[in-house]
Symmetry: C2
Subunit: 215 residues, 2 copies
DNA sequence: GTCTATACAAGGATAGAC
DNA sequence: GTCTATCCTTGTATAGAC
């Protein structure tokens, strides 16, 4: 089956990206990793950026299928909303090859987009979906909270997660510490939602900045 | 003066890094940007990684000297602690060439360290200093708070900042929104410090995870 | 110190046989 | 579909004149 070969190449590409980054990807490396010739890689994916596009899509798909292996994994009962949120956000922080691979690749993708806007759309969509999911989970937890507050909290949490992920992958932050900070951050944001329940929005009509470079 | 030429080349390198990233840096580009020959660049910096090392050090030095241009910049009086913290954290979020350049280069450095540990030490030191500074400012704001809480809050805030910075630089997040999220995050963390004042630590003795990949 | 010219290596991509 | 062999561009680095 031809599809299997394609998949094998994409898996190889994912491993190569995890090791050397998007910009460190060499077509010859991918071929070697997959145990095929470079020519075959070109045959299936046209050119280097074709490989990249398909590999990133492949990685994106795979990310949805993480096995939710967690602290209380051993077939625990469907957790309460808070635990569900924690689990979801902590999925990225597991030292398993597949997870590391995906996480690394996504980090690379984000970093790469700073210089090459080509993939911006795709990233924006994925990011928005991810933020919406977190906002939804937060909403399930504090049904009374205004949508704007939920959205802002989700944006902060997901951005934090990206920052922590990079630190972990760089070896600057031990995994358990990253996980702890994520859990605490969730607690902090939930606390904020509770306090904000009574008081009006903290940042009402934002005055337009007078200085253009702050826009 | 020879030093001027060296500096000119480093400035050129900083601009090139801001445009194409660490891994996108071409020696010929640096030379062209500085208006000199490639041979001269090699003469002054030995090889490509020499250029890189010096350029990153140069950028790091420069980051300390940001002019604190802010909303209330026009010669306002020495602000209160809260404003001081906000200003410090928002320094990275200004659409000025120098700031963008530094921010981009640091982001690249962080991303690059995922694959190349060579610069990890330097990054770790800079990150620790930065976190300590933020923790200090938070401490000035809430003198009663336990040091551990201040540290954790600072870690979350700085990691958030890195995540938001990348989103801004990628064009995924408008500058004003990034700034707003930073300000809110500061508020949220301060709120947490206030609430935590009475109650005991939220995450006491953390049980060692049973599963190795969560460590 | 600075340049021009060039050697040399790596990597992307294709031709053509099987 | 898959391979071997090869081309060609790009990028690092050096030689040698001024």
């Amino acid at each position: 089956m031809t599809t299997e070969r394609r998949t094998a190449i994409l898996e190889a590409a994912a491993r190569v990206i995890a090791r050397h980054g998007v910009r460190g990807l060499r077509v010859a490396d991918v071929a070697a990793e997959a145990g095929v010739s470079t020519a075959l890689v070109y045959y299936h994916f046209k050119d280097r950026s074709g490989i990249l596009r398909h590999a990133l899509a492949f990685i994106g798909d795979r990310a949805d299928r993480y096995t939710a292996v967690e602290d209380d994994a051993a077939g625990g009962p469907p957790a309460d909303p808070r635990q569900l949120l924690e689990r979801t956000m902590l999925l990225e922080f597991q030292d398993l090859p597949e997870v590391r691979e995906n996480s690394t690749a996504w980090g690379e993708l984000r970093a790469h987009t700073v210089f090459d806007p080509e993939l911006r759309e795709e990233l924006a969509a994925a990011g928005a979906a991810w933020a919406a999911e977190v906002a939804g989970l937060l909403g399930g937890l504090r049904p009374g909270a205004p949508a704007a507050d939920l959205t802002a909290a989700a944006e902060r949490l997901t951005a934090l997660l990206e920052g922590l992920s990079m630190r972990w992958l760089s070896g600057l932050l031990p995994l358990w510490h990253a996980r702890e900070l994520v859990r605490e951050a969730i607690g902090v944001e939930i606390g904020r939602l509770d306090r904000a329940a009574g008081s009006p929005a903290e940042s009402p009509a934002r005055p337009a900045p007078a200085l253009p470079f702050l826009n």
